[in-house]
Amino acid sequence: MTELRFMGIRPPGVEDVAVPGRLVVVESTDGVGRSTQVRLLKEWLEDQGYAVLDTGLRRSDLAGPGIERAKEGHTLDPITLNLFYATDFWDRLERQILPALRAGMVVIADRYVFSLIARAVVRGVELDWLENLYAFAVVPDCVIYLDVDVQNLLSRILRSSGFDYWESGQDYLRGQDLYHNFVRYQEMLLAEFRQLAGRYGFQVVDARGSIADTFRSMRQIIQGVVRTMGSDEGAVPIAQPSVAQASERLGREKPAEGS
């Protein structure tokens, strides 16, 4: 069991003192290959016999569709957008992440409140207000930060999807010059992530190398986090019905069978 701690305040209606599951957060700017790594980690953990829930921003039943719609219009100020994201975050925390942690699963969060905070601070929102907004976030068992530099990021972006409107800060930077806006925005964002890394004790992984190297570094960190799970009192082996029920409730895939 690990103690269930919150970043600021314990939210109303959550009574648990400790949970058998673990919460692993993976943070980075976009285009680093974070989602690929999350998928690899999920497979690896399941092969090891851990039941895994992966979750990411905008995937809540409540606010996911609304945020997608709102972003199409490019019209939201950063305060409204963050309140919308906070709604999405809380809905997933309460109805996906916490039930999975109670059931003894490993939750891998593909981005967490830190991405939201970094992006908002760059857009001029006060850190103090943001930390209050996300006070109900569960303190993760570990936060892995995939660190890159802008040069490395550029080569990755150009090989894949190209420059994205939001990831180039086009919503608030002046001018139509996508390349310069991208560089400027990402430099500010990366600087903010490094600030947060110190403030919240991220485990920094150099993600400039190969996918395999990054994967092995991440695996090593996560091994340390999940190692004690089997010996936890109250830990739930994956074959037990409670996990199946939890998975069903979450509307996600069933736990890997026979592993």
Binding site: P12, G66, D77, I79, L83
Partner: protein
């Protein structure tokens, strides 16, 4: 929440439990303001075009917990502040709002949220020029609402709080809890207490008396109305009600 001295507009808001008559009085006030030539912008709780469909989805499917209930209403409010209320105040209009942050402070406190957290969450709000609290005995408010109301909605009756399985009884208890929170806010934020049991005309007179001193220097529209041109030019305004594309004059 600070009063911004640089904002030339005025912000007038009404608060109170359901059935306190606040919307009726605000409607009368804004009609009077318009008749006096002021530019009036109306803002209503839960009306952001971008956020309200999510709130509706949450209520309909009963997805909202105390925290998400609070956050989605804050998102709606923030969108109205930045897209509607602030620009209007910057331009010098009179903004009238049916419910404001105090509704969130009262309802969310009843749902167990921390008062300090809530005040910080809403720190981007503009301090109103005048905030009216319509004070009404609970039995009277409940009677006004329940008369001719066949059923209550889930969150409206506070059924998410497990106060009582009977919707009407739950509504009664919920409104009582909200009213107790409002009482604390009256002193903290200096809300103007209105006796909502008083004669409607007297209530409106009092509101206008309190608002009047705040009006000098506010933007007015002095272009003259349609009625003026009709009167002066002897026109009937035959086609003014017409919607859509223009039609040809019949031979």
């Amino acid at each position: 929440m600070d009063e911004d001295p640089k904002l030339p507009g005025r912000l007038l808001i009404v608060e109170g439990v359901d059935g306190s008559g606040k919307s009726t009085q605000l409607d009368l006030l804004s009609k009077w303001l318009v008749s006096q030539g002021y530019v009036v912008v109306f803002s209503e709780w839960n009306s952001s075009p971008i956020v309200k469909s999510t709130t509706r989805r949450g209520k309909k499917r009963r997805l909202l917990s105390p925290v998400s209930f609070s956050l989605i209403h804050a998102a709606d409010f923030a969108d109205r502040i930045y897209a509607q209320i602030l620009p209007a105040l910057q331009a010098g209009a009179v903004v009238v709002a049916d419910r404001y942050v105090y509704t969130a402070f009262a309802r969310d406190a009843v749902r167990g949220l921390d008062g300090t957290w809530l005040r910080k969450l809403y720190s981007f709000a503009v301090k109103p020029t005048l905030a009216f609290y319509f004070d009404v005995p609970l039995t009277e408010a409940v009677r006004r609402i329940t008369d001719g109301r066949p059923s209550f909605k889930y969150y409206e009756a506070g059924l998410d709080l497990d106060l009582n399985p009977d919707p009407e009884e739950s509504f009664r208890i919920y409104q009582g809890l909200i009213q107790a929170e409002y009482e604390k806010l009256v002193d903290e934020f200096g809300l103007v207490r209105m006796d909502a049991t008083e004669n409607l005309i007297r209530q409106q007179q009092r509101m206008r008396e309190l608002v009047r001193p705040h009006l000098p220097g506010v933007m007015r529209f002095d272009g003259g109305g349609v009625s003026q041109v009709l009167q002066e030019e002897g026109l009937l305004g035959r086609y003014l009600q017409q919607q859509g594309k223009p039609t040809r004059t019949l031979p």
